[in-house]
């Protein structure tokens, strides 16, 4: 049983790291603010969620797990809100999104 738990935690942490890595690569490679916000907000969120899930599995059935679930919930609410705020601010400033063909 313990081994299964360890394997699950390992898998969750590794996949969480993977998606966080994707977020970093995305911020580096993508061409403009909007597309970078995509990478920064979502891949990142999933990475954090997976890491939190790993924490939850580690604790097992415990009040700490409920707190972890609450943390995940707040991540799910705040992360898209922040991304929306950034993108909206850019949109209000009339920043044109990058399009195919604008290679620079």
């Amino acid at each position: 049983m313990v081994e299964y738990g360890t394997v699950a935690v390992g898998a969750l942490v590794v996949s969480g790291l993977f998606f966080t890595f994707v977020a970093v690569v995305g911020i580096y490679r993508l061409p403009d603010l909007y597309t970078r916000t995509h990478a920064a907000s979502k891949s990142d969120t999933l990475g954090a969620l997976l890491a939190l899930a790993a924490v939850g599995v580690t604790f097992g059935v415990d009040t700490a797990t409920i707190k972890v679930a609450l943390l995940a919930l707040f991540m799910l609410i705040t992360s898209p809100t922040a991304a929306h705020a950034i993108a909206r601010a850019a949109h209000d400033q009339d920043i044109e999104p990058w399009q195919r063909g604008d290679e620079s």
Partner: protein, 384 residues
């Protein structure tokens, strides 16, 4: 009390939008007295129209035919009583109308459209509005009915002088036991979860005190509507179904984005999409906007009333967005299973283009007419 159409022989008319508000009776009394006064002064016949739109296809609720019929009957009775009590000079007819809205949930613009249609048909120019009038729709970032009628539709508008001052906005609602208990229960549960269960007695006592304090201070500003246990349970249950669906969407779409981002040639094709979302109400709109943002490849940039501006990273994510899976799920959470049968954004866009291609200006009271009216709004928004 049924709709009486075509009674256009009156020279003056007053229109009162009717909703289930605490000041409805006072408003109707005021309108009746005004109508009587005008009738006596001008020696002309005056119609007093009480209007409340209904949604025939919607689930039982505030815009249900029976409820509205009942409400109008009550309002008409109040008006008739008032007319009998005031000086019986001048002829005033009390009439009621229940214009049908094409779909559920109605949006505020369609709701006002329906009222305006009744007014236009009888050439009524004066509207008397209950300061507490509640559109039976959850207005998103919407305008109030008086703004819509006076500033945008150009009606001669009077606010009924009612005893109770109008509530400004909906931030502070009337407190109530249900509100108080809900907030107290929530904060008590939250306190216990955070506090753990080390010393049970201590936690229960301090938790109880905290909960009472929190509820005392905040219960009046926490809810937009009085929480009803059955509704809370069904909505919570639907949320439980929605969250796994959303998580699944997040994971699958993230894998696609990971592929795109890590691909050597970076195959992205970002565009801005505009579409009219099929949801109304602050919470539903926020949920849909945030869900769209959470799903990789799409990012809600701006929301104006119902018009969403969404940035999409790849053509695949754009297809997903227009297929409207998320939107359908959000409709399910907030409006129930019956609301899932609703055209996807793609289908609505197709209807839009068709209606615009043909003559989209004709105003009819059928469902397609309302859809066409919606399109006009959409195109106006885009061109500005």
């Amino acid at each position: 009390m049924t709709t009486e159409l075509g009674s256009g022989d009156a020279d003056f008319g007053f229109l009162v939008p009717v909703s289930d508000s605490p000041t409805l009776d006072e408003t109707v009394e005021y309108a009746a007295r005004e109508a009587r006064e005008v009738a006596a002064e001008t020696d002309e016949h005056v119609d007093l129209f009480l209007v409340a739109p209904i949604t025939p296809d919607g689930p039982p609720g505030v815009t249900d035919r029976d409820d509205v019929d009942h409400l109008l009957e009550r309002a008409a009775a109040v008006a008739t009583d008032t007319l009998e009590m005031t000086d019986p000079e001048g002829s005033v007819d009390v009439r009621t109308a229940m214009p049908e809205l094409a779909r559920y949930p109605p949006n505020p613009v369609e709701y006002v459209d329906a009222i305006v249609a009744v007014a236009d048909e009888r050439e009524i120019e004066t509207v008397i509005v209950d300061p507490d009038h509640r559109m039976p729709v959850e207005t998103p970032i919407g305008r109030s009915i008086e703004t819509e009628l006076r500033d945008i539709r150009g009606f001669d508008l009077e606010m009924a002088p009612v005893e109770r001052p109008a509530r400004k906005g909906r931030l502070v609602t009337r407190g109530g036991l249900a509100q108080f208990l809900s907030v107290a229960g929530l904060s008590f549960g939250f306190y216990l979860v955070l506090g753990g269960f080390g010393d049970v007695m201590f936690d229960l006592v301090t938790g109880g005190v905290t909960a009472l304090l929190v509820a005392g201070v905040l219960s009046r500003i926490t809810f937009e509507q009085t929480p009803q246990p059955t509704r809370v349970v069904t909505t919570a249950w639907r949320w439980l179904l929605y969250v796994p669906y959303l998580l699944w969407k997040i994971v699958t779409a993230n894998v696609q984005i990971a592929y795109v981002v890590l691909h050597p040639s970076l195959p992205i094709d970002p565009t801005m999409e505009r579409f009219e979302a099929g949801v109304w109400g602050g919470t539903a709109t926020t949920t849909l906007a945030n869900s769209i943002t959470l799903t990789p490849g799409t990012l809600t940039v701006d929301v104006r009333n119902r018009e969403f501006v969404v940035h999409s990273l790849t053509s695949g994510s754009r297809e997903d967005l227009l297929d409207g899976g998320l939107e359908r799920a959000v409709r399910f959470v907030f409006y129930g299973r019956s609301a899932m049968r609703y055209p996807s954004p793609r289908e609505r866009l197709a209807v839009n283009t068709e209606a615009n291609a043909s003559d989209g200006g004709a105003e009819t009271e059928t469902g397609t007419g309302n859809a066409a009216a919606g399109d006009d709004d959409g195109t106006a928004g885009e061109s500005s």
